[in-house]
Homo-oligomer: 343 residues x 2
Amino acid sequence: MMRLFICTICTFFGVLTAAQAQEKFSGENYVLVIHGGAGSMSPNRIKGEVEAAYVAKLTEALKAGYAKIKNGESSVEAVIAAIEVMEDSPLFNAGKGAVFTHNGKNELDASIMDGKTRMAGAVAGITTVKNPIKAARAVMEKSGHVMLTGKGAEIFAESAGLEIVSPEYFWTQHRWDALQKILKRDSTKVELDHDEKQTFVPTVKNLDEKYGTVGAVARDKNGNLAAGTSTGGMMNKKYGRVGDSPIIGAGNYANDQVAISCTGWGEFFIRTAAAYNVSAQMKHLNRSVQEAAQKAIDEIGELGGTGGIIALDKDGKVAVPYNTKGMYRGAVKANGEIEVAIF
Amino acid sequence: MMRLFICTICTFFGVLTAAQAQEKFSGENYVLVIHGGAGSMSPNRIKGEVEAAYVAKLTEALKAGYAKIKNGESSVEAVIAAIEVMEDSPLFNAGKGAVFTHNGKNELDASIMDGKTRMAGAVAGITTVKNPIKAARAVMEKSGHVMLTGKGAEIFAESAGLEIVSPEYFWTQHRWDALQKILKRDSTKVELDHDEKQTFVPTVKNLDEKYGTVGAVARDKNGNLAAGTSTGGMMNKKYGRVGDSPIIGAGNYANDQVAISCTGWGEFFIRTAAAYNVSAQMKHLNRSVQEAAQKAIDEIGELGGTGGIIALDKDGKVAVPYNTKGMYRGAVKANGEIEVAIF
């Protein structure tokens, strides 16, 4: 039987302390945890129908992944199934809902890692593969490599039999409008600064509209772990910028002890090797998944970065720390009990 | 006064044990360590004039970096200076000496990290920037990002004032001949296998001709560390493959405790987050730089990977472990004493 608990009460209290956020996903026996991005989304905006839409889609993703686990399939299958649901939704900055680059394109990144074998796959800067997480998986399983980029990655994905779409598939009105708004503001800023050569440097102020990622970590009936991450990257990004999502060790990592997926200001997650950081603390210091993940987020915060981490260990313990106002997230236990939360 | 010791005696004895290799660069007070790639180069081929050419160029790179350190400049400046010498030489698989992709192009990757600030920069898949390590530095210092890729990275590098060359600048006869040889062999293999759709999966057998990277780690008069890595990637690579060299945490890492640069079968260095792995062991387990770097290489070996690591800690201690037949490498101490070795 599948039970559904929606933790929306927190929206009345605004930002939670890290401990409070952690308490919502506690105990053991978790088999799948997902996120749909961390940011300073406002409880004033994410409410009513909007909140219901996010909760419904996160629940659908959890159910899709859970079905694989329950059916005895691998953690890799569960991660793919959950992420595919979020990639196919315009709600999240991944797949269909990807933000636009400065040049009005959608450039997608994704990665996956199988904790049992420590095999990994990633794609960066692709524009024509409907589900980037499947491209990452094909890289892992069929290419002999870990990371493929750009046009080459697209050719490989097509040769691997993946569904190819026109780049226009990723066009959505709300992301387009968001880009136009930010382009207008940036052009004003350049004019004011009298410095046409300046490059865009993200600040804490404008991050909220720019970041977002989806991810999943799973533990199958054999106790094997897997982690996946998929993103549309940073809104208005230039110069082929790649964040942490397709970087194994930064935005994604899995071994036989823990699986980790990250979301947030990618540059800081790369500089601190955030995902591997969680694993290293657990391996070397015997830290719990909660303590290790929290310390990884704290380290990012000390450098000035923001974001969130989901981590699931071999015993089914889970951690979901973040230092933003909220993180779209959900988890399901072995008995099918589902939890979903945003704030 | 600068003294020069060339450790060539080892070429008479073939492969060294890890401990023997380590002994050649021992003690403390090192300020700069470089590598020019690890592989199963044969002492029968790397001798006489060929060996002399490598030794001379490694020595030139060490002198260029040492001059910066001696002059009171930063470890970042020293790393750039040393790597620039190797990028400008056709001897190494980086910059001018880059190997060719399957399609007959030269696609270059590089990264740099400043240990003091943990700021980092990387470029992947660029074809027109004369010195990719300088592009990585420009990303670190001027872009607000960590990683830029492809055409976008080239546009950024040009806007940052870097020297742009025609892609033909990277064409060299010996690399072209090597590609033709491997293409011929691969086409034979495809014919024999009756499987035209197979993708190229590297095997230990054909790695030697395919890999190579240059790197440098430095410690300046203020005790600040930096690490840089630059490569032409894997010969005959397809599909926009990116290895560990531009991946912060995998092929490159630096903080206030240690600076690391890697070379070898990049996929394994990504899967084990090799560079960060060295740092994490030192931080969490108080392991020496020698023990940590050796264990990182051992972990790669256990997965079936090969390569080498150079690492320099805050006290000037150095480690140069590798599990290949040889690694082009060199080091200089604060007093200017230079050591160079291959086997």
